[in-house]
Symmetry: C2
Amino acid sequence: MMQRYTAREIWDMEERQSPRAVGCGGSVVLGVDGGASNTVCVCIPATAAMDMSPFADDGPPLPILARAVAGCSNQNSVGEDRARETLERVMAQALHKARRRRSSVAAVCLAVAGVNHPIDQHRMLDWLSEIFPSHVKLFVENDAVAALASGTMGKLHGCVLIAGTGTIAYGFTSDGRDARAAGAGPVLGDWGSGYGISAQALTAVIRAYDGRGPETVLTNNILDFLGLESPDELIGWTYEDQSWARIADILPVVVESAVGGDEVANKILHNSVGELASSVKAVVQRLALSGEDGKDLFPLVMVGKVLEANKRWDIGKEVIDCVTKTYPGAYPIHPKVEPAVGAALLAWNAIASELDDDLRTAV
Amino acid sequence: MMQRYTAREIWDMEERQSPRAVGCGGSVVLGVDGGASNTVCVCIPATAAMDMSPFADDGPPLPILARAVAGCSNQNSVGEDRARETLERVMAQALHKARRRRSSVAAVCLAVAGVNHPIDQHRMLDWLSEIFPSHVKLFVENDAVAALASGTMGKLHGCVLIAGTGTIAYGFTSDGRDARAAGAGPVLGDWGSGYGISAQALTAVIRAYDGRGPETVLTNNILDFLGLESPDELIGWTYEDQSWARIADILPVVVESAVGGDEVANKILHNSVGELASSVKAVVQRLALSGEDGKDLFPLVMVGKVLEANKRWDIGKEVIDCVTKTYPGAYPIHPKVEPAVGAALLAWNAIASELDDDLRTAV
């Protein structure tokens, strides 16, 4: 199994390979998405004809040469050494599967959670430059940037809204300015996230039980879902393991309860729509993405399980309706490719525009 | 130093003491308050003339024979063995200081955090009965009960509101029924607590920084207080150590900001007043403490740093005003003694009423 080899062992194999064993399909681009639970690396051809507009609903399927998956690579969570070993291994595996050497890599984009400051970025770039030959173009971004790129086919323009366990809105102008909103975690009011919605639902159950809030079917539905007998037991359940993802898993129960007509659940979801839309609007306003007349077109990329369409209570659609009331030029996109592909497209796009520049300079 | 002796060693000394070395002031009562940060044991005379009404503002000072302090004894936090060793040691120390033996103890009341179910209570009572001679009356309660008793001089009637790092409302009818509200911790919506107020203030800073919320002086005041440069750094600060008490320590900054006229801080405090009052009202309503006409007198004991009078923004006073609008018979009490004394008074009261019963039976 691939998983048992370290990056070092794979690089050693790479060196021992005869040139003929290595694929001759030309140079490649690596895209890495490192999130809270796992890390994905994809390898795409550097020369792929990717005439793909972010606004086009069809187009040629993107050729993915190889895909590898590893564990968490957020250095704030697992430490720098383990994060780096994971990142290097997942890249080595993807290259090995694609039958390419590091020398055939044209560009790498690492988009990882926990990279927030230029200082994080520079440390990561220094480390990458020790792994790859000097001709390889290297990019390091926050994972939200890859999510944006997954919807815009690598162009850094527009706003992405991520709402999974956590939530963040992140945007770019076409001249490279960026802004973010939310993404501050559960203690600091990310109420539109899966965690936020679930915590509000649990709170509503406790309030109803205490006599401080209205009765709600959330009580029976959540107790059933968790296999508990009484709201008393919710307190113990909540604090026995404070993993944010574990709390966020209650989300479908809240949506079902709202679909069933429960007022408390509906109010929680409507609040969350307001919170998520306000994050997007804050980014759009700060970057003036909608132009001077407020009607410029810009991509609004929607990512994460909170925003995935539930036919009967579609949080994502409600957020879009709310944003487009203020910014009619917001063009919603539900990405068809995963964020790792977004990262690869980002690197691909950057080298393609350099090529364009070179061509223009030559003319 | 006392601290170096284990409970076992102190009990051994007790057995070796000559009868003359032991005080001859008669039997005593022990009260123990075991909270999140420390454990206090007081020793009072069982025969003290305590003609103290909960509604009286003066009266004879309560004779405290001895007081001992130890670390945390919440078994959910430090484990059962360590919790028991701590509780036994603090009782042994108090008795030793009071120059009494276990045989001179008339009653013990342990009021400890983490005791929520009858099963916790019974395990603790079994364990206590192995330490003390069989004639000793034993009581085990949640620490909120001792806080109530510290305001009512040991009578279990009325409602206590605790708002420190966390918050809970707990009440008793004179015929022994009880009810609680809140006390479910920060994830489950204890918004009126020190933690809740502080977390809302931190959230307001992030929202202002994102452009999702109004500007507020909380930003400068909290950054100054924490020695941080930018709201960006608040995220790292918040999650580097998720101790609830550490977050709750921001409370005075929020109160100062509200006193200075900041609208965001004022709104947070007003919300918290509403939350705390609603916890009290839920308990009063469920227990019908205000009687059929809604005007019966009952003690409302106020405990914890959130409720301690700040002359210029008095959260406790606002809560009382809010409760008495609905329940004019609520009689606010700020205890003059600590909860450990409340626990001792509770045990004292229980044996005194048994004596009364015996006297009545004799007549």
